[in-house]
């Protein structure tokens, strides 16, 4: 019997929601690590019982947790994230040089094939790698060594590396995104990186077409087409069909193209989902109506999905790591809100149900499809 496990990270702990393949009834367990900010929790594709979690606190900093039994028990693993060599500086909000300082782990990306290999995207932006199940971490310094590092500047949420995508067809290739530096790609396993921001346009920076400085909020990929990426930028929804060498805007008829999340249907590589947010100063849906927008054409033509979602007096946000899909058929789509709801659709987005209502603000949602 197939099933689904939803891993929700919140401002005050982690929650694990499970259901069978019908996805009608949900069991909610948690909070795990009550009182701690859980920025991201993600399971290993190679071993679904292996789950990594980023646990942090303004008081006590970063800690890391690992479960080897599907979240029933957890053990603290390594939390020592030290930049390679002399860290140097990036730009501060006022444009002055600011030393690189580790703050937290935003995103964890376990290897597609090795349960002990996991990548961590951190603030201040860098990528770390563990080959021993999270016990020790080493920076992959080629990224910050990209010549543009001193020009990277934090977005409002900090200089965070929030997206890591592994190419399922090429183990040497991965993509990352940093707010507000942009997107980067490595073709040699992380030794060297290339800025892949051609075609992005950000009117709020001095050179709107600059190589770096773009506030990328999230990138998504369908595993069958790793050269096609979809991006929710600060403003604009974008796509590339050549692994980031050139981007084109596909915002089309969206009511606003500001937002944070973006994801791709598990079985339809041209079906994508976003949650438009009113603006960068008003982080809630337009008109108080929570709407997922779906494009079945890889962008440009979008339809609102509203069935089961609140259509009045709704002023939540949906943060960048808070949308995920399962691999069942029909595909399930999930997203969490800053109001503490986790919504699920078991029919590709046609209808939605809040599978839990009143969690702390949701920071991340990941889904494991269980066989």
């Amino acid at each position: 019997m197939s099933g689904v496990r939803v891993l929700a990270g919140t401002r005050k702990g982690a929650f694990i929601l499970t259901s069978d393949g019908a996805r009608n009834r949900w069991e909610v367990n948690g909070p795990y690590f009550g009182g701690w900010e859980m920025y991201h929790i993600k399971g290993s594709p190679a071993d679904p019982n292996r789950i990594y979690a980023s646990q942090s606190s303004g008081w006590f900093g970063q800690t890391m947790q690992r479960s080897d039994d599907a979240g029933k028990t957890w053990v603290p693993v390594g939390n020592k994230f030290v930049y390679d060599g002399v860290p140097g500086t990036h730009q501060w909000y006022d444009g002055t040089p600011h030393p690189w300082e580790f703050k937290r782990v935003w995103h964890l990306e376990p290897s597609l094939t090795d349960p002990d290999l996991v990548y961590a995207g951190v603030e201040d932006a860098a990528i770390f790698k563990s080959t021993d199940g999270g016990m020790t971490w080493a920076e992959m310094p080629g990224l910050r060594g990209h010549g543009s590092g001193p020009r990277w500047q934090p977005g409002a949420g900090g200089l965070c590396l929030h997206t890591i995508l592994l190419d399922p067809k090429d183990a040497q290739r991965m993509f990352i995104a940093i707010s507000a530096a942009g997107a980067f790609r490595t073709d040699d396993g992380g030794e060297t990186w290339k800025a892949i921001n051609q075609g992005l346009r950000s009117q709020y920076i001095p050179d709107p077409n600059a190589e770096v400085g773009h506030c990328v909020h999230r990138i998504a990929m369908h595993r069958s087409r790793p050269n096609t990426l979809f991006m929710q930028k600060h403003w604009d929804v974008m796509r590339t069909d050549n692994a980031g060498d050139q981007w084109t805007e596909v915002s089309g008829n969206l009511p606003t193209d500001f937002g944070f999340v973006i994801d791709v249907h598990a079985h339809e590589p041209e079906t994508i989902y976003v949650v438009p947010i009113k603006s960068d100063s008003e982080h809630y849906p337009m008109d108080g109506a929570l709407r997922v927008y779906r494009s079945r054409t890889g962008g440009n033509e979008w339809e609102p999905l509203t069935k089961g979602l609140p259509q009045e007096n709704c002023f939540v946000n949906v943060l960048r790591d808070s949308m995920s899909v399962d691999q069942l058929d029909p595909c399930g789509i999930y997203f969490g809100t800053t109001g503490g709801q986790v919504y699920a659709s078991s029919d590709g987005g046609d209808s939605w149900t809040a599978i839990v209502h009143d969690l702390p603000p949701v920071l991340s949602v990941e889904v494991q499809t269980l066989s």
């Binding site: 008081w59 006590f60 900093g61 800690t63 603290p76 939390n79 020592k80």
Partner: protein
């Protein structure tokens, strides 16, 4: 033996219920007590002070015998009552309002 009280979040992380009692080399200083805490509970490394610089995390405070020891050198020997085991060394998460 030195008695150390951890803040609630770190008790959970270290899987301890009450105060912990640690053998600390004479004379016990703030730094050597923290060394002993991290030796016995490695998952607490980095949560009280920086891994590398050993600088106290900004929102962590140290108290003993009604004294705030947060801003003194880590080489400072703790009060006699702490050494005698009559009083605990307190590691506290600073109050944050709002």
């Amino acid at each position: 033996m030195i008695r150390v009280v951890l803040p609630p979040h770190l008790k959970v992380l270290a899987h301890v219920q009450d105060e912990v009692v640690l053998d600390v080399e004479d004379p016990p200083t703030i730094g050597s007590i923290l060394d002993a805490v991290e030796d016995h509970y490695p998952m607490l490394a980095g949560t009280i002070r920086d891994h590398v610089t050993h600088k106290r995390r900004p929102f962590v405070r140290f108290f003993a015998c009604e004294e705030d020891l947060s801003h003194v050198s880590s080489d400072t020997v703790v009060p006699a009552a702490v050494i005698a085991g009559k009083e605990p060394f307190l590691i506290v998460g600073a109050l944050a309002g709002g």
